[in-house]
């Protein structure tokens, strides 16, 4: 242990700790901007400078290792003045656009400018006038706002191994750019949106489409129907001042009705349906010698990744559409019929934790219903804005139930929102289908948690099925390289593009640390425990759907509406 003093407080920390870590240990708050709790030290913004007794120069607390007997002062006039100057210099290159910014009220630079009461910046404002990039349907970039912290670059390269973002030039000319300095759409970007969570400011964000929803609600000829993805409920409360997991589902539904949705249905319904289709597909592949291991196909960022980097493994992907895209065509065929609503009038909106879902809904082939299957995708953050704008008091709002035929769900669908959830849900069903026995304990603990790669074995009446689960695309890459080399021991692999799974999706409330993802994962399993039915094949409305419409899993109708194919993206540069 190393002993030092910070602002007169004695502290002992392990060797190799930084001043920042030591300060946090004793509750001394040092401001940071480029620092990210789950990333490597960058030390490029210098906002965290402190005085170290005996040193002429100020030290960056995030990077400076502690030394025995060190005396650190974090709040002297010299330190405060230096930090103010650093902030003024950063702000002198930053558009004074806070009122119009997507991160207004949730910006690390704005917070610092406020904390250090930056008023009259002595430095002349010099904004570079770089072009905004709206080339993708999911993510926009506003490079003028970039503070060059490089957190997005680490998210894109180290966490996701996509390498769509990199640096161009040097010194005052340097900037973060997509590959070869081109547009994001031409890079290998998979639209996972992890760069958005990494960005401390408004330089990257989701493409906002709230206005399209408001126009549809205002149109008397449109029936506005929505579906909510499994991971949204645990996080939406964070957008309206609640703790993670605290928004009750029925109050969330009531809130959506207040906003003006005509019908509120649930993606969980099609998550259960996915398990029946995908589970049977797995059994068919096992029985008939199909391509193995089979990969799950729920995560559109992952699908983009596979189409971009592993086009030779597309046959391994389950042909099942994601729950969002199973919901789309069913809402405009089966559900429209059940409700006696003209499908041409249905405006189908999905609420997703995901930015890649916007891209997925816009894929040209997603029109199996004869219409655009999903008309609009809103992220959890956009729905948060919608709620705040609507002035809904969730503490006083009485709950409301989902509408019929596509609103019922089981605990197996709930856990789709967390890494390992699709696998666990599939195992709950596949076990019973294969063995004919009732699964007494539905909890497969080994599949749970934020660990990058998990594996398990399940004995299905003598056949041992080996499964693996990866969250975060650099982890997925490891499993894929194994498959490509012909060395994968697995039968079934679940991949979710985002760390922690959909609860950490690119459209979720801005997630500043993996610790928040873990909190959301815990909430997901609490919700699962509370469900009376926890196996997808016991969902009563899914049973009705098969009895009356689909007839059987992998049947003719299923293939027409619920299954798809994939295409190599052939990106120019990877």
């Amino acid at each position: 242990m190393v002993n030092l003093t910070i602002d007169g407080i004695k502290v002992s920390v392990p060797e190799g700790s930084t001043i920042l870590q030591a300060a946090r240990e004793v509750g001394v708050k040092i401001p940071t901007l480029c620092h990210h709790p789950d990333q490597a030290v960058k030390a490029n913004c210098r906002v965290c400078v402190c005085e170290v007794e005996g040193n002429r120069l100020l030290a960056a607390a995030c990077a400076q290792p502690v030394m025995e007997g060190m005396v650190v002062k974090t709040r002297t006039p010299k330190v405060i003045e230096a930090r103010k100057t650093i902030l003024e210099l950063i702000l002198a290159n930053h558009p004074q656009d806070c009122l119009n910014c997507i991160r207004n009220g949730n910006c690390e630079l704005q917070d610092l400018a406020n904390e250090y009461f930056i008023r009259d910046n002595p430095f002349t404002l010099k904004v570079r006038g770089l072009q905004k990039d709206y080339s993708t349907p999911s993510i926009f970039r506003d490079p003028d706002k970039c503070v060059l912290c490089r957190r997005c670059v680490e998210a894109c390269t180290v966490v996701q191994s996509v390498n769509a973002l990199g640096l161009e030039n040097r010194g005052v000319l340097s900037m973060v750019v997509p590959t070869m300095g081109g547009d994001l759409i031409d890079s290998a970007c998979v639209m996972c949106g992890q760069c958005i969570h990494a960005c401390p400011v408004g330089a990257i964000g989701e493409v906002e489409e709230i206005d399209k929803l408001l126009a549809a609600i205002a149109d008397p000829d449109k029936v506005v129907v929505t579906q909510i993805a499994p991971a949204v409920r645990v996080a939406i409360g964070e957008e309206v001042g609640m703790k993670t997991g605290d928004m009750p589902m029925d109050v969330f539904v009531a809130g959506l009705r207040q906003v003006g949705f005509d019908y509120v249905l649930h993606t969980n319904f099609t998550a259960d349906l996915t398990i029946l289709e995908e589970g049977n597909e797995l059994l068919q592949r096992l029985k008939e010698g199909g391509t193995l291991p089979m990969f799950t196909s729920c995560s559109p960022g992952w699908i983009n990744f596979c189409e971009t980097f592993y086009p030779d493994l597309l046959d391994n992907l389950s042909t099942c559409k994601s729950p969002q895209q199973m919901f789309g065509p069913l809402a405009k065929t089966y559900w429209a019929d059940k409700m006696g609503i003209d499908p041409a009038k249905i405006y189908s909106v999905s609420i997703m934790p995901c930015t890649a879902k916007k891209f997925e809904a816009a894929r040209p082939e997603m029109n199996a219903s004869g219409y655009r299957d999903v008309d609009l995708v809103l992220t959890t953050r956009e729905v948060g804005r919608l709620f705040r704008m609507s002035g809904i008091d969730f503490d006083k709002l009485a709950g409301s139930n989902f509408d019929s035929w596509m609103g019922a769900y089981t605990g197996a669908a709930v856990i789709f929102g967390a890494s390992g959830g699709v696998m666990e849900a599939a195992l709950r069903t596949v076990y019973e289908v294969v063995t004919g026995n009732t699964l007494e304990d539905v909890n497969f603990e080994v599949t749970r948690g934020i660990t990058g790669i998990k594996e398990a074995e399940v004995d299905l009446d003598g056949t041992v099925v080996k499964v693996a689960i990866a969250n975060g695309l650099s982890n997925a890459r490891q499993l894929m390289d194994q498959v490509r080399a012909g060395e994968s021991p697995y039968h079934f692999i679940e991949i979710m593009a985002c760390p922690g799974g959909c609860i950490g999706g690119g459209g979720q409330p801005i997630t500043k640390a993996n610790a928040k993802r873990v909190e959301r994962i815990d909430s997901i399993y609490v919700e699962d425990e509370k469900c009376a039915i926890r196996k997808s094949h016991e969902n009563p409305e899914v049973k009705t759907l098969y009895d009356e419409f689909l007839l059987e899993p992998l049947g003719h109708k299923s293939h027409e509406l619920l299954h798809t194919h994939y295409q190599a993206k052939n990106k120019k540069y990877l």
């Binding site: 390269t157 990199g166 640096l167 030039n169 040097r170 750019v177 590959t179 990877l574």
Partner: protein, 147 residues
């Protein structure tokens, strides 16, 4: 020599990408996108990293430019000695502005940092050769070597 062969010849050198880039530039005067992508492949880097290297160093250019690259030092000693007049003479003689290339693809005009010849300012370099004590009057003679 084809840029692919040039890059391949540096493949086994640790950090050879920078030398490979210099060699490609010697042939083509700049680094075309395809050469950057090829270097990424050969040195097993993401294209975004290979592009980062190509744009980090001011000696490399990722946009086409004239075959003979004229660099003018604008650091203080050259400035005091009259670099501005040399620049004006070069621009007039070649009919282009700083940062541009001539239409025939023969010359490019760029700024350079100090090249370490401050005893004889102003200094320019053409390709890698330095010219010392340059004045507007000597510019046409210097350029004639390359025409």
């Amino acid at each position: 020599m084809d840029y692919k062969d040039i890059i391949a010849s540096y493949a086994s050198k640790p950090g050879g990408i920078i030398e490979a880039y210099h060699a490609v530039q010697k042939e083509l005067s700049y680094l075309p996108e395809e050469a950057v992508a090829e270097a990424a492949r050969v040195f097993n880097l993401p294209v975004s990293d290979a592009y980062g290297v190509a744009t980090f160093y001011s000696m490399f250019s990722v946009t086409p430019r004239g075959k003979n690259v004229i660099r003018i030092c604008e650091s203080a000693p050259c400035h005091v000695a009259g670099a501005a007049q040399v620049i004006a003479a070069l621009e007039r003689e070649l009919g282009i502005k700083m940062g541009e290339s001539t239409a025939d693809g023969q010359f490019a005009l760029e700024f350079a940092e100090c090249v370490g010849q401050c005893q004889a300012t102003p200094v320019i370099t053409i390709n890698r050769k330095p010219y010392l004590d340059v004045s507007p009057a000597t510019v046409p003679t210097i350029l004639a070597e390359y025409k």
